[in-house]
């Protein structure tokens, strides 16, 4: 038991990624495929409902945003960032533990040129599809089933990135 405790202190990251992943899983205790993950399914459902109800998945709302004709999307994203920032600050300040009793792990992001080039490419795609990766899933659920082609193409895009990664400037 002592060994496990020491191990937890010295090695906070357990999932071994060859190359950094931005949505890390830093939980140390074991997780069962269904039992542990069902809570993320439920959270995803709530998230999907918010996406549809606040019309964030709407192609028109994204057009309004990029044309500066509506405050809606800026309000949503701005509020979300403020709430997220405050929450992270509170978690760090009061050292709030996870429900498993583990210390919450944060990662610093290292700048790489993909943050500029890749982000701009994504921005181009965002304005065409009216969707970032999250809303793509909610759009399909909302009955715009043709967006599943967009999803397949996005998976293909990710795959091609993995293939040519070594040749790209980072």
């Amino acid at each position: 038991m002592q060994l496990v405790e020491n191990n937890r202190k010295s090695k906070p990251v357990v999932v071994d990624h060859p190359i950094a992943c931005e949505a890390q899983n830093d939980q140390l205790s074991d997780e069962s495929l269904i039992g542990s993950n069902i809570k993320y399914l439920l959270l995803g459902i709530l998230f999907g409902i918010v996406f549809v109800k606040a019309e964030i998945i709407s192609w028109y709302r994204i057009q309004e945003m990029f044309r500066f004709h509506s405050f809606h999307m800026y309000g949503v994203i701005g509020t979300a960032v403020l709430v997220g920032m405050t929450s992270v600050w509170i978690i760090k300040k009061f050292k709030i533990k996870t429900i498993q009793g583990e210390t919450v792990v944060f990662h610093d992001k290292k700048f790489q040129w993909g943050n500029v080039i890749g982000s701009t490419l994504f921005g181009l795609g965002w304005a065409i599809t009216g969707a970032c990766p999250g809303p793509i899933f909610a759009q399909i659920g909302s009955g715009f089933t043709v967006v599943s082609i967009t999803l397949l193409s996005a998976i293909a895009g990710t795959w091609v990135y993995g293939l040519v990664r070594e040749k790209l400037p980072h």
């Binding site: 071994d16 992943c21 931005e22 949505a23 890390q24 899983n25 830093d26 140390l28 993950n37 993320y40 399914l41 959270l43 995803g44 459902i45 999907g48 918010v50 549809v52 109800k53 192609w59 028109y60 057009q63 809606h72 949503v76 994203i77 509020t79 979300a80 709430v83 997220g84 920032m85 992270v88 509170i90 978690i91 429900i99 583990e102 790489q112 943050n115 890749g118 982000s119 701009t120 994504f122 921005g123 181009l124 795609g125 965002w126 304005a127 065409i128 999250g134 899933f137 909610a138 399909i140 659920g141 909302s142 715009f144 043709v146 082609i149 293909a156 895009g157 795959w159 990135y161 990664r165």
Partner: protein, 188 residues
């Protein structure tokens, strides 16, 4: 109560709920909010093809796949049971701009003149679904994050590379909307 829920939700309600996803994921199990990584896990699970970028234990990241599956289900729930009976309110300036570009504006969340299977094998389909989707998938992975991973999670954790990424998302979006889009619609 249900009547209120059926109305479109205001920006601050949505913003607070989306923002709360960050601590919810962190406290439920040390998970970092991010959606585009799910696309990478799908690649790693279905067609790793010996590419080093996809060689990792994706099962440990399965939570991310459950999360996006939930989003799809949430889309179904919201549309089937909580759908707004009134037509979507779009800014009149945007409607004018879109009409000037010959894009039909209807009352759904998405313009059905574009997002329908009839367009799949046309120029519209190629650009809106295939090219658009490819840019989203390739771009977010190259950027190592999307609106959730960079703009919301990254900025929440005060990461300056995420601020750079967010600015570039906007630059790309603005360039497409104002410079490239008017040229693309001439192809239809």
């Amino acid at each position: 109560m249900v009547e209120i829920i059926k109305q479109p939700w205001t920006w601050y309600v949505a913003g607070v709920l989306i923002g709360l996803t960050v601590p919810a994921l962190l406290l439920l199990g040390n998970k970092h909010f991010g959606v585009s990584s799910s696309l990478r896990h799908i690649c790693a699970a279905c067609m790793p093809s010996k590419i080093p970028f996809f060689q990792y234990d994706w099962k440990k990241e399965a939570w991310n796949l459950f999360f996006v599956a939930g989003m799809l289900l949430g889309g179904i729930v919201a549309t089937q049971f909580l759908s707004n009976p009134d037509p979507i309110q779009i800014s009149s300036q945007t409607v004018q701009d879109l009409q000037a570009l010959n894009i039909e504006v209807d009352h759904n969340l998405m313009p059905s003149s574009i997002f329908s299977f009839d367009n799949l094998f046309t120029m519209k389909g190629l650009i809106f679904f295939v090219l658009g989707g490819f840019l989203v998938g390739f771009g977010t992975r190259y950027a190592s994050g999307c609106t959730s991973g960079h703009t919301i999670m990254g900025l929440s954790n005060l990461q300056w590379p995420s601020l750079v990424a967010t600015c570039c998302f906007m630059i790309g979006g603005l360039a497409m909307t104002h410079l490239i889009f008017p040229w693309i619609v001439k192809l239809f």
